[in-house]
Symmetry: C2
Subunit: 245 residues, 2 copies
DNA sequence: CGCGAAGTTGAGAGAGGTCAACTCCGGTGG
DNA sequence: CCACCGGAGTTGACCTCTCTCAACTTCGCG
């Protein structure tokens, strides 16, 4: 038993999220009738790579990670999944990555792909919402690449905390249900450096810890040196002129 | 005038690609009637960030980059776009990134968003294809994160070459229309290190250059040390057990 | 012929990976 | 109740790799 289990992403109640799946400001009620709920233990696989893509998934409560194991034994986490997030979309009838629960008792809603597609064929508005959701996922994924591309370790960890804060219902009191190892594999750095960076930020007074898995952001501006973390700031590059590097 | 202008991604002829847009194995003919074609000069902006998202786009011939300029002056390229690639999808009626032509005379097809959406409402099959395309884009984007997360410079550049080879019509003779600076901003490393890595791979006999922008891959296996570059190899991580790292 | 942009190569310095030791905490069994 | 154990997390010391700055080459173009 872990202390943060009771408070994972508290804003979304189960009933609410099942009967009215929410992404962005849009509410999809049409799919709710098809949903099946599954409870997952800490670390339990939700689906594996190369599994047939029979379902689309949504986190109802708890948290999960989407990850890949590389041939050299390293693990990479390509996304963290929180309540309301849809995932497991795949063409070609098989998944590219695997997904696992992070929190004990994570509740996952399963939507049979075939059924939803039939529903979509009769309901263009639902189709549009799913499309927009996928478009947003692309944008979000590409925005996350900006985080990975950041130079220093403190910048990466800072940008990570800001991303988690933006996805968290409570603005400055951020719950990090994942382990330091998960964070390291997400940011493509070593656990030691993640730990050092967090300690560094703490000593600078930029953040504090209520406990290991609960961070409070004290100085939001200091977290993104240069203001690159938020994804609003993407400017076009003019002919590569500005390139001094 | 540059020597590679005439041979950019030669397999897709203009007429063919306009009348029958191709993604994956799927052909979308319904959208073709709405397309408008625009020719872009080298470096010319196709659309800027924060521009209203009026169109969806597709490269007919040539190449483009999707990029962001960070607050500290650095540039990040989040995607390279080649013939057949759709891009510029955005919700919230504004783009998150900017897009610019890389090759002189790059031809871009513009699809009015409103018109296509109306078309989709009447044609579920078209909607499904667009959805699948977006799903693929997510998978591809997340797979690219694996490249960014690789440790050494030679691994990154090797994985980049493999990615380009897979997206290229000609398997081992890969055309790289973008500059070394573009590659550097795509892989989040310095131009010098990109250049050094390429030279290194050349001296090892892994690759050769027909000219600066045309690479031939001699030893495909040596390019992905450990075999992590291809995205088929994504295994699930079991409870984090394998994690020694 | 000279200029500037793109690309390559060299030398140094700083940052993060690696290995190791240590603490902290919960769980288990005596 | 306490000793023991193992995993997660933190901190330290060392070393390697990449960034940075710089010089130089190559190439296309005026």
């Amino acid at each position: 038993m872990h202390q943060w289990e009771g408070l994972v992403m508290p804003s979304v109640s189960l009933q609410q999220s099942i009967s009215a799946p929410v992404f962005g400001a849009v509410t999809v009620t049409a799919m709710a009738s098809l949903a099946r709920i599954r409870s997952c233990r800490r670390g339990q696989r939700i689906y594996g790579p190369d599994d047939p893509a029979i379902y689309w998934y949504r986190i109802a409560s708890g948290a999960a990670r989407k990850c890949a194991l590389l041939a050299d034994g390293r693990r990479r986490i390509v996304d963290f999944l929180f309540p309301g997030d849809f995932f497991g979309f795949a063409t070609r009838h098989r998944h590219a990555f695997g997904a696992e629960a992070i929190a004990e008792g994570t509740l996952v809603a399963l939507y049979p792909r075939e059924g939803v597609e039939m529903l979509v064929d009769r309901d263009p508005e639902l189709g549009r919402q799913i499309r927009d959701m996928a478009f947003d996922a692309v944008t979000r994924s590409q925005a996350r690449m900006l985080i990975l591309g950041r130079v220093t370790a403190r910048e990466k960890v800072g940008a990570f905390l800001i991303e988690m804060a933006e996805r968290s219902p409570t603005a400055n009191a951020v719950v990090l249900p994942m382990s330091r190892y998960d964070i390291a594999d997400y940011l493509a750095m070593s656990v030691e450096t993640v730990s050092r960076s967090l300690s560094d930020l703490k000593h600078r007074g930029t953040i504090t810890f209520a406990d290991i898995h609960r961070v409070r952001i004290l100085d939001h501006d200091a977290l993104d040196d240069g203001g690159n973390a938020r994804m609003g700031n993407c400017l076009v590059c003019e002919q590569g002129k500005l390139r001094k590097n």
